[in-house]
Symmetry: C2
Subunit: 248 residues, 2 copies
């Protein structure tokens, strides 16, 4: 266990080798063993392997080559539709079309996704989560024919790695862990937590390439800019309402 | 790996044995290895071990005994506060106080939580996710002193199991997996997917105990009722706004 979790790195280059059917089934079964709210399994995993459909999805992920190069693209969705259908067919009135159940269903979906990822890596497969899913969720929903009650959350590409990237650095563990209750950071602590990363040659190069003074400006002015964040927030929330997750 | 993921069951009775410090550190490090949006690590794990504080949290989880019996309660939070502080200190204007970044941060947090869970189980520990976190999120935020930019999502109790429950049944894998795109269910398929569960003696007993005709009515009329779902949706969304995650 130590190995797969502690060896995780995002893989962005893939061999075309398909995933054997029994391996794919195993990683999907692993996903289904994750904890789920009330054992309701409020998620769907859309496993796209056809070249044609992956090519249709590619622009939704800014044409990152891995979407068409990796043999398998899994779109991870919150899904209250299936459970609500079951209720409707049994004279039971479902009321899962609201915000709390978006969060419950998203939780189910993401825990399942991470099980899938760990089991895939145990089999020697590589994975990469695609955050672009939020940017273009409405288009993804259309391509994958998602009905009301189903909302795309993230995407995982899966395949055999054609690269061996180093482990990504992380902030010191004390950055993300609080003991007993939340302990507010001092300004000096923030500086200290980011110091090693900011001093790395790789990060200094990225700052220089972007013509900025520091790494934080690379994030706020280039990678994740206010205008994009707002546009994505609005379009994603609109889709949330349209998919019937906000009848509060 | 097969073992921990495929042997997962929620544990609701715990021995008082504390978690050794090195084991706790290992499972927290496992959490920190999960994929994270832009390597921003937009989450915080609040590790509560003090008896006093767990007793304060217990009512937020409807006084389920495991909150005070298990030695460790981890409140899993979306957190854009730490990253935004870092930006603020570097003349970089953060704009992560909106809905897209709630979803990004929640994704980071939940992937980390599931790594923590799997690594804990590898060490022979048991866990249980507490969905009650959404019901009483505002009170939890107060008890744990969560600042603006931090939102509780779920809670994981961790400790040595004092019970050995059987594996929970799941719907057939084809219920949650769609190949290529979403395939709408027929009414007959829905019946078939739930048939085994509905016919089990345990579920028939639960239906009878609740005085209902079928299992779906147990869910909609007892476990997760419309009025509660709406109230939780409203209070959780109010907190989301108050914590500064909805400046779209």
């Amino acid at each position: 266990m130590r190995n797969a979790i502690f060896k995780h790195r995002s893989i962005r280059r893939y061999k075309p080798t398909p995933i054997p059917a029994d391996v794919l089934r195993d990683i999907l079964e692993a996903a289904s063993r994750a904890s789920t709210c009330g054992n309701m399994q409020l998620y769907s995993l859309i496993v796209t392997q056809s070249q044609e459909l992956r090519e249709k999805l590619a622009p939704c992920h800014f044409n990152q080559p891995m979407v068409t190069e990796a043999p398998c693209v899994v779109t991870v969705c919150a899904d209250v539709h299936r459970f609500s259908m079951w209720c409707d067919q049994r004279d039971a009135k479902p009321a899962y079309d609201n915000f709390a159940w978006f969060v419950n269903a998203a939780t189910d979906a993401l825990l399942a996704a991470q099980n899938l990822v760990i089991e895939a890596e145990t089999h020697g497969l590589g994975v990469c989560y695609l955050g672009t899913t939020l940017y273009t969720a409405a288009e993804i929903a259309k391509i994958l024919a998602l009905p009301k009650g189903v909302m795309p959350l993230t995407t995982v590409v899966v395949g055999y790695p054609a690269e061996e990237p180093p482990l990504t650095d992380r902030l010191p563990l004390e950055a993300v862990v609080h003991y007993e209750n939340y302990t507010e950071y001092t300004a000096a602590e923030i500086d200290e937590l980011w110091a090693e990363r900011e001093e790395s040659e790789q990060m200094k190069r990225i700052v220089a390439e972007n013509g900025e003074e520091n790494l934080a400006q690379v994030f706020t002015r280039h990678r994740y800019r206010a205008e994009d964040n707002l546009a994505i927030s609005r379009s994603y929330f609109e889709l949330l309402k349209r998919q019937g997750f906000f009848n509060n």
